[in-house]
């Protein structure tokens, strides 16, 4: 063998518990990246065997067949065949099969066996199989298949010990490379010889699915689950967000007190620190939402939700699978667009990516809160509803409805006669495992911070530059930001935005808002604080705009925020995920057009009425 570490790859059907097994084997020693040239996740890690050797372990995307029908499956096929540029062909394949689902998984095992690579079969979830009374004659299966068979329990700390010993030993001999003519017949033969199954389905699954998939109770349950998630995401994260906010402010004040007042301090504090803070402050919400999504994913509920909503989504030109990406987009469109990878159909995936920015992300909330607080009276409607709350709710609904309408319009424009399949597996229900959820959470959080952090930091520095330079001469009469590039751009933009009721202060605030929507609030504070005749502080912004703006202008700005692609990170992620500037152009154009049109109508109608 070469001096390089042995390459081992995990292959198997989706939902075979492969990733849990990978987590158990590699622990925290894993690296997540993309395969070159595609947006398929590449998970690699290092395993230490009992004898102290290091083994490179690759977690290949789940596949039902080597006759690939998705980019994920193509990657798995190409790596197994040694045809993937930049990836070594594995020295050993560990084929993972769910012991409770051998009827389906053994067929793929037979396909993999015919590849002519040394392989081991890991019978995963042996505990669940035993609980259901499934008896597997391991030795018999090993003999009939001609490859070593080990039992694993991915959710138990020592559940992979037998597999580790097998990897540590000498490579198993090459299996007989011939594939049987009829894979299904061979699977049946193997099952008859080596497996006893008392009942085809899990009793728990049957019982839960009676309720979870029920046309009425199922939808009601889904609504309750969604409501609880939103409630938790917004109420539990509030104290954490306040804490982060206070911490950033304290740090900024401290730095201002110890550093000399010069350009460097301004760049560090006003540019970089505040910019980073505006990203980090959303982390609690995003992490909480991810946590819920991961738990739902691990438990097996999410595909059921996709089933319940599929018909509605198809009507709008999406797919049930769009549910998860769109749900994530309520925290932030960036992870939502990345989650669209799970949609195999290219048309459905593109439609999902294009409408994801219409979901009301949490960065819009500070803007909504300010405008609603300033312009919508606090009164009770019908005895129980708060008018301000109703308006906020309406804004969420507006986002969802417009997403469905836009997807529907896209479906009409790109009408094709090709059938787009659902073919979605509903795996057995499982109790989520803490370690796996935590590893998943860590992965998603770090990917999010990498994607968004860099962009926002760069942009905030750029925007800091625009709103600081050129510095106003001492005899300049107006506020300093007025003299800067940002001020000049804002004034120039006023001509464009005057028809929808925006004054130049709003136009200036829109520019820094490109980095992150909520920055628009602090920018407005800056613009008004420095331009007001009195010493109006940022905290007094609310009564200030309430007095100075017309209701039409305020509503027009709210509507603008429902649609406008006011977030460069989102556009950057669309570019990254679709590898197409054209798609970015389409997204930007249609969102701006919608925003402008809707704001124009709002401004004109409200102006006429008031």
């Amino acid at each position: 063998m070469s001096a390089l570490a042995m390459q081992v790859a995990l292959v198997g059907n989706p939902n075979c518990g492969k990733t849990a097994l990978f987590n158990r084997l590699t622990g925290s020693r894993q690296k997540v990246a993309n395969y070159a040239g595609v947006t398929v996740e590449r998970k690699a890690g290092v395993v230490r065997t009992p004898s102290g050797r290091s083994v490179q372990l690759l977690d290949l995307p789940g596949a039902y067949s080597l006759a690939a029908t998705s980019p994920d499956e193509a990657i798995t096929r190409d790596i197994c065949l040694g045809q993937m540029a930049g990836e070594a062909r594995p020295d050993l394949l560990v084929c993972v099969a769910d012991a409770t689902n051998l009827r389906l998984h053994l067929r793929f095992v037979l396909e993999v066996r015919a590849l002519g690579l040394p392989m081991v079969l890991a019978l995963n979830m042996c505990d669940a199989a035993a609980k259901r009374g499934i008896v597997i004659d391991r030795a018999r299966l090993e003999r009939e298949l001609g490859v070593p068979v080990v039992e694993t329990i991915a959710v138990r700390a020592d559940g992979a010990a037998a597999l580790l010993r097998q990897i540590d030993g000498p490579l198993p001999p090459l299996p007989a490379a011939t594939a049987p003519a009829d894979l299904h017949a061979e699977v049946r033969r193997l099952l008859a010889l080596a497996v006893t199954v008392p009942r085809r389905t899990g009793e728990v699954d049957d019982a839960l699915d009676r309720w979870a998939l029920h046309p009425v109770f199922g939808l009601a349950l889904l609504a309750v689950v969604m409501f609880l998630i939103f409630q938790a995401v917004f109420s539990w994260s509030a104290p954490l967000q306040d804490g982060i906010d206070a911490g950033v402010t304290a740090l900024a004040d401290y730095l201002k007190s110890v550093l000399p007042d010069n350009t460097l301090r301004s760049l560090l504090v006003d540019g970089m620190l505040v910019g980073t803070g505006s990203v980090v402050v959303f982390l609690p919400q995003i992490l909480l939402l991810f946590l819920f999504i991961l738990v739902l994913e691990e438990s097996g509920y999410l595909p059921r939700a996709a089933f319940l909503l599929d018909r509605l989504m198809v009507g709008a030109g999406l797919t049930g699978r769009s549910f998860i990406p769109l749900l994530s987009s309520f925290a932030c469109a960036v992870p939502g667009i990345m989650a669209a990878r799970t949609i195999q159909d290219p048309r459905d995936r593109l439609a999902t990516i294009l409408v994801a920015p219409l979901m009301t992300c949490s960065a819009r909330l500070p803007v909504y809160a300010l405008l609603i607080g300033a312009f919508i009276p606090e009164q009770t409607i019908a005895g129980i509803f708060n008018l301000q709350g109703l308006v906020l709710f309406a804004l969420y609904v507006a986002g969802i409805v417009s997403a469905l309408l836009v997807a529907y319009a896209m479906k009409l424009i790109r009408s094709d006669s090709i059938e787009h399949a659902l073919l979605l597996e509903l795996p057995s229900y499982r109790v989520p495992h803490v370690t796996d959820v935590m590893i998943g959470l860590w992965e998603r959080a770090s990917v999010f911070l990498k994607r968004v952090g860099g962009i926002i930091l760069t942009l905030t520095v750029l925007l800091w530059f625009l709103s600081t330079y050129p510095t106003a001469p001492a005899d300049f009469a107006g506020p300093a930001i007025d003299y800067s590039y940002a001020g000049r751009i804002g004034k120039a933009l006023e001509a464009v935005f005057a028809p929808i009721g925006f004054n130049w202060q709003i136009c200036i605030a829109l520019i820094p808002g490109l980095a992150a929507r909520e920055v628009a609030v602090s920018s407005l504070a800056t613009v008004y604080a420095v331009s007001a005749t009195g010493d109006a502080a940022a905290g007094q912004l609310l009564p200030l705009i309430a007095a100075q703006w017309s209701l039409a202008t305020a509503l027009s700005l709210i509507v603008w925020y429902v649609f406008a692609p006011q977030c460069v990170s989102t556009l950057a992620v669309i570019r990254r995920e679709t590898r197409s500037w054209k798609i970015v152009g389409i997204a930007t154009f249609y969102l701006f057009a919608l925003a402008y049109g809707a704001s124009f109508l709002t401004f004109r109608i409200v102006s006429a009425l008031t």
């Binding site: 006759a67 067929r107 998939l213 979605l424 509903l426």
Partner: protein, 81 residues
Amino acid sequence: MEQRLRDLPLRIDAIVERVEDATVPDPIADRLRDLGFVSGEPVRLVARGPLGGDPLVVQIGYTRFALRRAEAARVFVRMAA
């Protein structure tokens, strides 16, 4: 009596007869066969979607899949005796 899977009553045991190609070639039919929709496999409908009975949840072998009606129309079954 042979009938389409999508017309099967809920929770009635049936046996797959064949999967018919709707187009030539038909990647969806091929994938259905890969997923275990082959002659002789026990199959049953577990649930119908809340809107218009679409999609369907089908138990094939030990596995559950959600299939749209158009997908399930390719599968012909015979009620178990």
